[in-house]
Subunit: 242 residues, 2 copies
């Protein structure tokens, strides 16, 4: 059954009118007709089974039939990354959503390949991934910031959140124990760009009290692989896989 | 510096003649000339810095200058997966290589999307990923098999290897503890197809004494995401990230 993110409130017996783009998708692409069912969610009211009451390609309307998943709290997990080129950027947003990041923060670093991001496109990717992966709250994609600004405003913006840094130079005995030591705290994961952080950036990062550098093993990981691997560790050890 | 997998032995002062395709790549694509340096590895002798002594586009030759990495033993980690469509299949092979799988086994299941695989293409992908990720031994890509055959020959082929099964239906308290319980044993990870295993397949899998079903969290993961996430857990908890 298709699963769509919508803005309006969802409640038993309520009616929802879809915007043009989603109407076209359901009525023209998926060829849904009156009586067909679709799951809707909005990040506030859980997920609901709904039924088409109009299959107009300009304005599909649906009646809200039954709640199929209760709303869960939004994820507190922060994920920061140096943006990649477009195709792989889309991919990273999808993967972070799948892995349960709640806040996705593009961070411009010295060796970052791109400088201006299409924010709308990143948000669209987060929505699409949420629709596919049965995430109930679409992660927030924050506007890009610089590494310098991120660090200088960390305490004010993030409170006591701890930042796990994927650091190729870290010769740690066990990333498992390092992550486990952060249990009960709000955490974030920061992945550097292809080519890594500059030496100066790494020194500054490692000097922060809120930063825990961890090793993701002896092989060179692409940034998107490191994202999934790092988020998997966090979710399994101190996150919502438990 | 480019990094290439070759067949010949590598030893100090030795000479290596590249095959046509790699010669063309170095001399024409990368425009390397006599005196330029390249890293070579063969899965047996570690990685070596080498220097071009001919930049012929048909036959590049190199002299072996210095060992830059000692050979490490091949990975014992087995990774089985239900093959996906071509593009994502390439991707899965690359990711498994990056994550340090030693044996990559395509497994045909009831809901598998493809039935015949281009074995050469899978091997080429494993080689390319090894070149890029500084893996010293290219993983072995086994010919495809069926789930039924895999299970009926497991003991004979795999000895006492334990098989970690990513199972959406598993409501385990902690995949970390389940993986940690396999410490010191040879392990494998099996990821099902998009759409999952059939109910019958899952029953049969779960009935095997060598199978440990684990949960990869509450969200639906794509097969390629599940591969990276599952291999990250194994490497971090009982593998070579320690």
């Amino acid at each position: 059954m298709p699963r769509l993110y919508v803005e309006p409130d969802l409640a038993l017996g309520g009616a929802v009118a879809l915007q043009k783009e989603q109407s076209l998708y359901l009525a023209a692409v998926l060829r849904k007709v009156v009586g067909d069912e679709v799951v809707l969610f909005n990040g506030r009211d859980g997920a609901w089974r709904t039924r088409l009451t109009s299959d107009s390609k300009k304005s599909v309307t649906l009646e809200v039939v039954e709640q199929v998943a209760a709303q869960t709290p939004p994820s507190e997990l922060w994920y920061g990354f140096a943006p990649l080129k477009t195709e792989r950027l889309d991919y990273v947003i999808q993967k972070a959503t799948e892995m349960g990041a709640g806040i996705i923060q593009p961070v411009l670093t010295r060796y970052t390949q791109v400088s201006r991001l299409k924010h709308d496109r990143l948000v669209a990717n987060a929505i699409e991934a949420s629709e596919q992966c049965e995430v109930l709250t679409v992660p927030v994609v924050a506007p890009e910031t610089t590494l310098e600004k991120l660090l200088s405003t960390w305490g004010a913006e993030q409170g006591d959140r701890q930042l796990i840094l994927a650091d190729e130079s870290e010769a740690s005995a066990s990333p498992v124990e390092q992550v486990a030591a952060l249990r009960g705290q709000k955490v974030g994961l920061l992945i550097g760009p292809e080519g890594g952080f500059s030496e100066e950036e790494r020194q500054v990062l490692r000097a922060q009290a809120f930063v825990t550098p961890v090793s993701l093993g002896p092989r060179i990981l692409r940034a998107d692989t490191a994202a999934v691997a790092g988020l998997a560790l966090i979710q399994a050890i101190i996150g919502d896989w438990r």
